[in-house]
């Protein structure tokens, strides 16, 4: 149950940071609605952010393992 709580909190923080980064990157001056190019940018940004998250997590874990092997 603790693990579930942690996973939920983690996913929420990931989503919140992703929303922030993609909003800052994709929306210039906010207008009356999300136009087509903004919507596409957000969809793409969201996919790339998840890719980047995976790359960063992999790099971190492999570094942890190398450091442990050197001890």
């Amino acid at each position: 149950q603790v693990k579930v709580q942690i996973a939920v909190a983690n996913a929420q923080e990931l989503l919140q940071r992703m929303t922030d980064k993609c909003f800052r990157k994709c929306i210039g001056k906010p207008g009356g609605s999300l136009d087509n190019s903004e919507q596409k940018c957000i969809a793409m940004c969201m996919d790339r952010y998840m890719d980047a998250w995976n790359t960063v997590s992999r790099a971190y874990n492999s570094r942890l393992q190398r450091e442990r092997a050197n001890m």
Partner: protein, 70 residues
């Protein structure tokens, strides 16, 4: 009004705080996007920008969470 128990109070506090954190988050983000130089009054262009900023941010949140499974 019935008195809140300890748990009820804590939950209420969490809820209200979460809402207020959202408002603080919006002002942080939208101030940077919309206000360049504070003038004698908030002109209508800046005011529209601020309102739209909140709405577009919520649209973005909904777009992102609707793309999720579940």
């Amino acid at each position: 009004m019935a008195e809140l128990g300890e748990t009820g109070e804590a939950e209420l506090q969490c809820l209200v705080e979460a809402e207020q954190q959202k408002a603080h988050h919006f002002i942080e983000l939208c101030w940077d996007k919309c206000v360049e130089k504070p003038g004698n009054r908030l002109d209508s262009r800046t005011e529209n920008c601020l309102s739209s900023c909140v709405d577009r941010f919520i649209d973005t949140t909904l777009a992102i969470t609707s793309g999720l499974p579940g």
